[in-house]
Symmetry: C2
Subunit: 212 residues, 2 copies
């Protein structure tokens, strides 16, 4: 059994990182924390957390925090650029560490996929979909069914993200204009329609029939 | 059966709002959209959405978009201050509209609770907890159990939010210093411990035995 306290590092303990840390702690996993807010660091130490103060992208700080023997690192720095830098540093110096990555949005996520990362969490994806679940419930849909559809939608959206990320290399990857964003929305919406069609019972039966 | 196309308004179609809109559309609900990005508005119209271009906090625009007879409004503007303004305008001019509110973080959420709003979605809450689910899974926990714990944690965190929001009025509400944030983290972490204890089987059995 791995020493979970040593096994998990959280870099950045703002709103995002602290929620992850609290959820893990409520489930018996005490992560080692890296944070550059000195007041917060003092408090967290008093509360029994193992905390290292400073810039999480510094190799020596990561080393002291046990990055060389840890199992996974949660990269949750508030500033997307510094968070991205951390991913680079960790991949280079601690290649054995599995990285769980906070991403600002879809474009951040594309860059992270380009870097070869796979555990990517766009920070507002789940909340926006769960707002949608409550709206469907308000409109009379069953909560259970809407929740299942939310999980399917998120899984599907993550697959679409990887597909679209690969495709964008076929075009000029340095142009990220409003036009591109619009094309993307267009693509996503058409794909969603496909998704909705595939989910409908009729389409599903058609699929089954073909297989038979 | 309500005409769902008329019944739902989404204000702001950036990353957050467009994900809600796509999820709803994939489930057969076509919302009316308010957005101030003219290129995006053109595209959305082409794709068959009912879209109004302009500042969503303008009463006349809301009126044209059907706010007077709609059922619910999703307030998803990227700028937290303008999103907050929209809540005020809607509460004043369209009191029958149920508001589903995007919030930046815990402090935004407190302000929204003060305004009497109840459907509040902190934009990174769900994603950070679901990152935690995958971490627990990576450490050997069952995915199903971790997901249930995530749902419990989010429900519990929302209840704690309302409780802490009321309590903060007992102190000077205008001081939002680092010290306060630290006290808050301290409170949250102790409450989480309580939550973890309550969930553990032993504590639960103890509770049961007392009842017997």
């Amino acid at each position: 059994m791995i020493d979970e306290q040593q096994g998990v590092i959280i870099a950045g303990f703002g709103h995002f990182g602290s929620t992850v840390g609290r959820f893990l702690r409520a489930n018996g996993v005490k992560a080692t924390i890296l944070d550059n807010d000195s007041d917060r660091v003092d408090l967290l130490r008093k509360m029994g957390f193992k905390v290292f103060y400073g810039d999480a992208t510094r190799v020596d700080l990561l080393e002291s925090a046990g990055a060389g023997r840890a199992r996974l690192l949660i990269s949750a720095i508030d500033d997307p650029e510094r968070n991205m830098e951390l991913a680079d540093v960790v991949k280079k110096h601690f290649p054995q560490l599995k990285i769980f990555m906070r991403a600002k949005n879809r474009y951040d996520a594309y860059e992270l996929i380009d870097k070869g990362l796979s555990h990517i969490y766009r920070e507002s994806l789940h909340s926006s979909v769960y707002l949608g679940v409550d709206v469907l419930h308000e409109l009379g849909h069953r909560k259970y069914t809407a929740t299942r559809k939310a999980m399917d939608f998120i899984r599907y959206d993550q697959e679409a993200l990887e597909k679209l990320s690969r495709e964008r290399h076929e075009k000029d990857r340095y142009i990220l204009s409003v036009k591109n964003e619009i094309e993307l929305q267009e693509r996503l919406l058409s794909e969603d329609q496909l998704f909705a069609d595939l989910r409908s019972d009729t389409a599903w039966d058609g699929e089954r029939r073909k297989e038979d």
